[in-house]
Subunit: 249 residues, 2 copies
Amino acid sequence: MSRQKGCAVKAEPRSAVDDVVLQMRELISDKGLTVGDQLPTERELCEAFGASRNTVREAMRILKAYGVVEVRPKVGATIVDNRMASALDMFSFNVMEISRTTFSDIQGFRILLEVSSVDEIFDRITDQDIVELRQINAGLKAAEGKDEASEQDFLFHTRLIRVLSNKAILDVYGLMKPVILNIMLKGKTRHTFETDTFSEHESVLDALQTRDRLAYQYRMKTHLEMGYAQFNKVERFEEGPDAQEGASD
Amino acid sequence: MSRQKGCAVKAEPRSAVDDVVLQMRELISDKGLTVGDQLPTERELCEAFGASRNTVREAMRILKAYGVVEVRPKVGATIVDNRMASALDMFSFNVMEISRTTFSDIQGFRILLEVSSVDEIFDRITDQDIVELRQINAGLKAAEGKDEASEQDFLFHTRLIRVLSNKAILDVYGLMKPVILNIMLKGKTRHTFETDTFSEHESVLDALQTRDRLAYQYRMKTHLEMGYAQFNKVERFEEGPDAQEGASD
DNA sequence: GACTCTTATTTGTAGGACAAATAGGATAGT
DNA sequence: ACTATCCTATTTGTCCTACAAATAAGAGTC
């Protein structure tokens, strides 16, 4: 009933939810809130904006979808910046788009990211990182089946990428996960993971540990191309593995 | 009271709203719905998914925020594709400083992609590519305003990336477009584009033409870091060499 | 047959209730 | 005195009902 509320100043025929979103944006910039800061509780926002809780919640959903806030029970809304991840997610709506992308593109992308970033990686990697990478690789060797092994394989590479401390790249990796897992599984057996993949990873880690750039680049590139070669051998140009895809991410 | 998570399909500890979003995505891809098609009414979705209307509405808000659906009273939800506009909107949020990390991440990503891919680029680039790149750069110089100039700037870099013939990388570039445009616009004037940016591009092209790898890498890296420096100059927040609180997550 | 009006349906908003999660204080044990 | 555990108050998550606003479709009128 009190739908007409005090906003007579600029009472556009905007929806109440959009109105609240706008007021929240103003609140954020007016108070100079940044990442890590908290927003008022839902009920406080209701009072402040003269809107019902439903309306405030729908507005909050928009901000969440934008990757601008994160909400936890009891704690409330915290300002974050996950917009890149949100953007990727919203464009992954056509999962088919990226899935149909030829596998070789993804693999070429990975070679670029993991091999060419050698300088950054060497600058940043710590002994602790290498310890954890070896643990993950041990987990790969101990994996029960192909699926678990490929998960560990993927984890190994994302853990490596993580040392770049670049969330955008990590997000992209997450987006490509379904495709990458597919590549990893193609033409491999559990035994392959346990032997070849494992030792390839180990040799990469050795190069990392001794800070041997050339060895790292050569071994990592060979490793990645190996997987791709395996893939080509089996698949040969066939396409369409979307049947069993579950998007577990 | 019927909050017992009726979906026994795969009862993950996901929120009900996220669950509905997922089911809607499945519905869309299962039925092969595309732009212009209608979704069932809210109440039908409630029944279909066993969720309350509020939950369905919040899920719908997410899809709306993603620019995937459009809702009109009485008519219902129509599938659209305004994702690019939504992306732009969500990155227009940066009245706040929350973008610093994102910006540096993206810029680091670009350096990795455009500088480190030098071998691939040199292998593949043709004279025709360089001709077109010079045309685009001429367009940059002739641009009317900042916005048009930044578009040309972006086009220049995507055209360069295009020679990699890697759709995955190109797609990722497309996704990052809103952020990249933002970076380009920060601390630049139309004049800056016309002089500095233009000549930096030209020197990069010269290096490409003469196949001078070192010069290419140096110039491109400098060019990209220049943009980032401009950005920092405006923000005026970066002090220490690396104040990374990269405690992961 | 064309126009206007009513109606039924659907979305938009409000407000209340309860469950679930949890931060922070209260309490008990050593 | 200090730690560990439990309790409570607060906050988000979900469901429900009710009504207003918008509007497509059909009924009624000229």
